[in-house]
Symmetry: C2
Subunit: 175 residues, 2 copies
DNA sequence: CGATATCGGTTTCAAATTGAAACCGTGCAG
DNA sequence: CTGCACGGTTTCAATTTGAAACCGATATCG
């Protein structure tokens, strides 16, 4: 789970999300949640993963504020999992991932499901990144910019514990 | 790497991509590639991961057609890694992930880099999913639709090898 | 030429994670 | 009380990850 944050990525807007959902199952759980699944057993049946893993993943998603545990839904004795606002924010990530998947992971003649507008039934438009003025932006048209007042101090953050910075570190001797 | 494809997800447009890039490092490598990194050592320095892991990840990305190994760039004896068309297709996935990160992973007062239009220097527009007719679509406005001619046959696919479907399976006896 | 360094990995081993199945506690239904 | 489904936790083995050592090819210096 909480993998290490590598030296320079503690401030990167890509690495932090990956710490929360950067494993195989988490995004699939979220996708299923978007599809209306709410119960432990539903997720397990849908995804076919081991119960301990599902348990761990759900705990992680809850810890990251992506899903909430709601006490009961229809009065039953069980709890349910539902997406938080933050979790619902993953909608576009899933959409982008799905479009990429549709573009590159299916043979041209291979049938596959695709994302459609519920009202019209037609496939959705292709996502596109636009500038303020409306121009469509490609990879070469963007930069990651540091906003004006970004202090250059390295923010105090929990020191990563690697073998070589532990105080008791001793290089292993090879046999 | 090639994790298992769970029973019903062999045809899902989300699960297949995750098989290719669904681990902590792969997307970060791709992000660095977008930032212009090309050499093994550059990736390693930027990400701070172990060389064996980087090696494995790059091999996986190459195997999935996301990066290419190009023989030499400036005549040197070394090879470089560059994004393929498929790899460049991840641009929007990264953009979506970054926007989500910017929205939810930074304290309101916490400075962070953000994605900007290179020409104007202004932050990019928020991504949005739209229907053909231009309506902005939220999670509740979409369905995954099976295109007309989707055969209902379970496609022949490499049988997943789990403990319980191996021929020599024997339930373990507890101590 | 020989010594040393750098790059791009592979190998080795230990530690962490994942996964299958067994086990467990609670709340029903009969 | 008996059985059973749900929602997990525990146990243990197998796989993956990671740190550091090692290696081969080329380049650089003296």
């Amino acid at each position: 789970m909480g993998k290490r944050i590598s030296h320079k990525d503690s401030l990167c807007g890509v690495a932090r999300p990956l710490d929360a959902i950067g494993d195989w199952w988490s995004l699939l759980i979220v996708r299923d949640a978007f599809d209306g699944l709410r119960r432990f057993g539903e997720f397990q049946k849908s995804l076919g993963l081991a119960k301990n893993i599902l348990s761990a993943r759900l705990r992680n998603l809850v810890a990251h504020g992506i899903v909430d545990i709601v006490p009961a839904a229809e009065g039953g004795p069980y709890q349910e999992y539902e997406l938080t606002e933050k979790g619902r924010g993953l909608f576009l990530v899933l959409a982008a991932l799905r479009q990429w998947g549709e573009d590159f992971f299916f043979a041209p003649d291979e049938a596959h499901v695709l994302l459609a507008d519920k009202k019209s039934g037609l496939p959705v438009r292709r996502l596109e990144l636009r500038a303020r003025d409306g121009r469509v932006l490609g990879p070469a048209d963007t930069i990651v910019r540091r906003p004006p007042s970004m202090a250059r101090v390295e923010l105090a953050r929990p020191q990563v514990r690697t073998a070589s910075n532990r105080r008791d570190f001793k290089p292993r001797t090879r046999k």
